[in-house]
């Protein structure tokens, strides 16, 4: 496998038939589980303090897709979340805005209205999220609904059943169809790595999504455990780095679910920095799918500025 010397042309070639796509994906170099986890553990021991920490906290806040994906979501809840997105810390206007607010399609219009003029994107999950188990026609319509309501970003799920049974062509075609239906919206492809289980699968699914036109690859829906882990994100970052070497294109990465503390977020930033490189330390190319992470980042930020930890009630719930 020589990802480094295959250019855009030869990559277009690998998607020309199901058989070629399959051979390409199965020909990707393997991922050694022990080695990948050991590397992630080493990156976790980087010590980020003082100026570096201050920079990292603000960067992490600016990368958050502030998310609510509950059946009980209401316009009121979304409005509250949007207010928080615009001004995460009412007591400190220097705290940066988050990158986007992520909601179900029927709440996109509400969010869009609330965030007007703020520069904050509205992201919407679509394609029969979170299971993805419906017909392509419905997934396309779901996507079109979200975009028509004003979504700037669409988070789609892949058909894990098709992927695990080796029908890579089907997964590819579906992503490509959603890519088209999403129009100008940014497309994030959720791999649901907790269901793919092996790192080899994660690497293959990453390449598959990128070849099919993903702007972002995302770990999880947040509805399946395990959600994002550092080693999985590491493998995905290696994939976008290699894809960039091969094509010159920058694809983003979004770990989602289970990242709750500033300490964890900083580990992810270190991993981005040392794997894909500093180019990826940008909300355009790296996002956190999280809701409870924000308050811990704000708390650590206040601690750095004032020297003491405020209590949790000093920050808004949403």
């Amino acid at each position: 496998m020589t990802t480094l010397d295959s250019g855009v042309d030869s990559l277009a070639d690998v998607t020309s038939s199901e058989d070629r796509l399959r051979r390409f994906l199965l020909g990707l170099p393997g991922v050694d589980q022990v080695g990948a986890e050991a590397r992630a553990a080493t990156l976790s021991t980087r010590s980020i303090k003082t100026t570096a920490k201050s920079y990292a906290l603000d960067l992490a806040i600016s990368m958050i897709d502030l998310t609510t994906l509950e059946g009980q979501d209401t316009p009121g809840k979304v409005r509250a979340l949007c207010a928080k997105a615009k001004r995460p810390d009412p007591a400190d206007p220097t705290a940066p805005q988050v990158a986007a607010v992520c909601v179900y399609p029927d709440l996109v219009a509400t969010a869009k209205h609330e965030l007007k003029g703020s520069g904050i994107n509205v992201a919407s999950v679509a394609t029969a999220f979170p299971s993805g188990r419906s017909s392509l026609a419905i997934k396309i319509q779901d996507t079109k609904d979200a975009v028509a309501s004003g979504a700037d970003e669409v988070d789609m799920v892949i058909d894990r059943g098709a992927f695990l049974s080796g029908r890579y062509g089907l997964v590819f075609d579906e992503i490509a169809a959603i890519r088209e239906a999403a129009g100008d919206a940014h497309l994030k492809v959720i791999l649901e790595t907790g269901e793919l289980v092996t790192y080899d699968n994660v690497r293959r699914a990453s390449w598959l999504a990128m070849l099919a036109g993903a702007d972002f690859i995302k770990t999880s829906t947040g509805k399946v455990s395990p959600a994002a882990t550092l080693p999985v994100t590491l493998v995905m970052l290696e994939a976008v780095r290699d894809y960039h070497e091969a094509t010159g294109l920058h694809i983003g990465v979004k770990p989602a679910g289970g990242i709750r503390t500033a300490k964890d977020a900083i580990k992810y930033l270190v991993t981005v920095n040392e794997t894909a490189g500093p180019d990826w330390l940008d909300p355009e190319l790296f996002r956190f799918g999280a809701s409870s992470l924000l308050n811990d980042l704000l708390m650590q930020r206040t601690k750095l500025a004032t020297g003491y930890y405020p209590g949790p009630d000093y920050f808004t719930l949403d």
């Binding site: 480094l4 080695g35 980087r46 570096a52 493998v235 330390l281």
Partner: protein, 478 residues
Amino acid sequence: MSRFEYAPAPESRAIVDIKSSYGLFINGQFTDAGDGKPFKTVSPASEEVLAEVSEAGPADVDKAVRAARKAFDKVWGPMAGRDRAKYLFRIARLIQERARELAVLESLDNGKPIRESRDVDIPLVAAHFFYYAGWADKLEYAGVGDDPQPWGVAGQVIPWNFPMLMLAWKIAPALAAGNTVVLKPAETTPLTALAFAEICQQADLPPGVVNIVTGAGRTGQALVEHPDVNKVAFTGSTAVGRAIAKSVAGTDKAVTLELGGKAANIVFEDAPIDQTIEGIVNGIFFNQGHVCCAGSRLLVQESVYDEVLARLKRRMATLRVGDPLDKNTDIGAINSAAQLAKIRELSQIGEDEGAERWSPECELPANGFWFPPTVFTGVSQAHRIAREEIFGPVLSVLTFRTPAEAVEKANNTPFGLSAGIWTDKGSRILWMANQLRAGVVWANTFNRFDPTSPFGGYKESGYGREGGRHGLEAYLAH
């Protein structure tokens, strides 16, 4: 700040209390001074003098050996194994309690990054004492006969690359088997051994069971040649090992030698590529390459050579070289001016012989002894840098086409301490491991150590094994 640059994160030195001068540790006490000329130990990262250390002359060595003999005859030899175990467990726990202090002291004296002394060296030191403590009352099950007996007094000489870990490799099995020891740490890194002497006092270890004599080659020679030493254990250079083998030849001393290496790290085209790059980096840049089993010869299958090289260079550019006490440092200081000179000389020879040298851009501190991570390409078996141990962060890259050729090249060396295989194919790992003349063969990993796993070499890499059940055997007469 507009970029994510890691701010310095130095570990505090306050936890370490270094005395201005140290005596020898004989019969449970620190003596005033040796009869040799005191010498200074410096921090290789700054050249700052850390302490003055005594040099043990032949009379001091004799005193230490006599103390060890008396302790062996009167206390330690007759003691039940389960009681020896109690002392070893106590030492292991004290090492854990003082882990941070020992890690800082090791990084100060040796120049290795605190990340390694904290996460690798000291935890392994404690693990060795725990492991051999468990053996002390089970010697008859070690597979060396019904009633194995200790040799008596062990004279042990250890190197500067893993000062505390090598001490543990030597002292833990020796004491578990019922021997008493006189240990000489390397002259550039004596401080953790002296801290260990304090730990022996704290553990109420009977006087004379462990004796530490500091000094250089002359002290080591006096110890090895002392007529009342029953067992000699040495880790260090092949040249000194050869001299020791000569000096003990014809005596009834038992001897084990752990000497140099020039390990082949073999990468096949189907290797898990990103983990392989990590393994190559860990194989040669761990502890600045001051590792006898370092993967200093990279053998890459020609079909993936370009890709491996490109990825390796990209990864090397992210290595952080600098202050060993900074928690974010990946590569610390070269241990001594002499070692730095040797690395420079051999690297120059590599260039002169036509190999291509590459290092990432990295700023090295003004003071202290530093060498950037370096890779040589276009190296062939005939180059000196492919044959001689450099003992520094210098990697030579060679290529091969078939598994048989890889084996041939890997074995075509006077050494045989370790080797690494990188492939997704399990059957090839087993086939290769059987062909390679190396004491340790790692598969899809490198430089992993564990107290339960024996370690030792073929050919000029020495003889005998340390670690595991085999490591006990070296300290038992049977």
